[in-house]
Amino acid sequence: MTDEQGLVANRVSKSFYGNRVLHDLDLTIPGGTVHALLGHNGSGKSTFIKILAGFYMPDKGSGPVTVGSHELEFGNPDSTYEAGITFVHQSLGLVPTLSVLENLRLGKSWTTNFMKKISWGKERRLARESLERFGLGTHPDTMVGELSTVEQTEVAIVRALSEGDHIRILVLDEPTAALTDHEVKKLFSTLERVKERGVGVLYVTHRLEEIRQIADEVTVLSDGRTVGHGPVDDFPQERLVRLIAGTTDSPTVTAPRPDSSPVAAAVGTGAPLLKVKGLRVGELVDGEFEGRAGEIVGAVGLLGSGILDLARVLTGRLKLEAGSVELDGEPVDPFKFARMTNRGLGAVVGQRPDRVAMSLTVQENLTLEVLPDFMRHGILNRRAETRSAVEAIERFNIRCAGPAVEMATLSGGNQQKSAIAKVLQAEPKVLVLEEPCHGVDASGREEIGAMLRTAAAEGTLVLVIDSDLDEVVGLCNRVLVFRDGKVVGQFQEEELSRSQLLDASYGSNN
């Protein structure tokens, strides 16, 4: 196995609807080396991985991409496999209720005897051998669900590499996001064995401090452009953060905000409407912050920082292990969600199918939280209900063919506006939103931003939990940065910038 057998990618570009998200990426990974691919959300990392996987067609003129003598045929996953590229995604793709052995053999043929009975003894021995090759002592009969996260990651790596002897390149997509420092070390010793076998590794990660231990080279992407490339030692952490952030803040960030000076005076005054303390569950270790009427507070962080679990807690999807939540001065249990909404909480989650009821009409969605308001003498006054729905459709500029059409006929952006409008109908004191602009186009973002600013101006505390820094910078009065399950930084509107948030997210003093 020589260096020639590594991955060589030339001028890979990708545009969506004329919008270029990846510019002429050049990348070389010799066999037996680890190449770290860095960049923030939307920088083009995953676009590149999906092109490698044959999931996206790159733009014309891209390529060639070769592994050894094998040239990749774009848009064809079989060609990716034949070229010897294999993937381990963050979700790992293991079946927790099957054994390690069964997971290793998933989708492959079994060794059988003449009666077509699986030769378990032989299979077990082979599995143990391939595990040991990577220094793993895991018993093949253990249920994968009983393994620790790092062991599962390792099993996924072993499985990916045992797809065939021709595997030359392993793509690891954020393998350490859910791991502790100690577990990361263990994973790296496995990766050392992978390197020893001459396999090249494309290593995608958010955690900058660890790449020095494992990577040989780095490539940094920002807005689809390669902004840094070279041996890892040339890139101290501060430089990496600066590159990832981009030298200037992106234009969407500094979009003019509507004149909000009369409101600003009232922002953040009065007793806190939402006060959380010592939140602990999952990735949250000690979540603590408060918010007041009229504020738009952002909560940001990388994968594994705890913001996802914060959103789950505040929308009643995850039961707290410890900590307290106070809503408008009263302690509440967010897991009893209907009580939270009665006390004035509104929530819009990130998952699209959960935001609105697709097979109900637009009107039925918009009035869902305020139906009792339309009761007249024990009968639902449909006319009043329609009037209110039409009003909301006009006020929030929801583009649809009328209140009586199914929600499923609306575009994603308009569904999202409907979801927010639905919650706003109940005039919540606190509005929690998870990734409110995810997958929404630019004009939709602006409209959603305007909806949230108006709500805040009317005295609602808006909490935006988002992994997209651009969103919160343009929108929030105050941003909380989460890392390792805690708030590690807090920035007021005046001092908000993308690079500062990134610094805090990655931990710049490392």
Binding site: A338, P353, S359, L360, L368, A401, G402, V405, G412, V423
Partner: protein, 345 residues
Amino acid sequence: MTTKTAGGDVTTGAPQMNDKGKRGRAGLSTSAGKPSLIQRYAGVGVLVVLIILFTLLKPGVFPTYNNIVGILANSAILGILAVGLLAPLSAGVFDISIGSVMTLAVVLCTWLFQTTNGSMPVPVAILITLLVAVGIGIVNATLVVREGIDPFIATIGTGSVVVGMSQLIGNGTTIATDIPSSFTNFGRWQLEKLPIAVFILAGLCLLAWYVLEYTPFGRHIYATGASREATRLSGIRTTRIIAIAFVCSAVGAAIAGVLYAARLGSGPPGIGAGYLIGAYSAAFLGSTIIRPGRFNVGGLIVALLIIGIGINGLQLAGLPFWVTETFQGAALLVAVLIGRKRPAR
């Protein structure tokens, strides 16, 4: 029908549309989201065609008052079962135990008279039967909502246990002793040859229509069926909605069972099983009519008539006993196919 989480995120199939495949499409809104008049009333057209067809085929028999009353009488008990079933189906959960609950109601009600030598007052026996049904509904709800068991599996299980219990009570034979005449008088009461079950069905339909169309609770049921999570996030206690829905279907089945026993004057074992498919056929066929994509009372009534008249007409045309089950099963499949083909956007 799938269960995604322990909380039981469940869809009942046909009328719920598939959310996948629509993501991220451009927001070109057309009137496609609103069913057309033809889509809405195609089922009514089918009913009219059936009536005309059988009138032409059997002019002396089919369009007579006696025959029509007979069709209504035969459809009424099935209709009561089906109208109760609307609640769980609208809320997005299956209840397979309704046939068994009907069986138990028939046996339990007559056994109560037998075991008290006919001295138990009729209203008390009926009340006890209905309360037992409420209990079964609560057990179903607990299994589905609290334990997160797939509703299909949970209610097959409870249904089987309930059938077993009714065999235990009735010893597997027909109970026919000590049935008070006031009970059979109640069951055989009629007005202009229209049996009491028709009037009770009409009352229940009116109630269900009011609740589903004109109360927040009804809307919450539909919302729960459309997206349990989105509804929960709107501050609605979806677990309670589903629990009440299971109680509704069990009580509907018990009413059907009591009326059946009262009309017959005895308690045969195992009659409910035959009604299960009929109720599902009517409910699913009804979900393609008037409010396509939604289990609705108006559609259910039309569907009951299509099934009742279809079976009656085919029998008059000379087809033997096997036509009932065949027609019901075919109607169920056709309904599901129509529901699936409904334009998605």
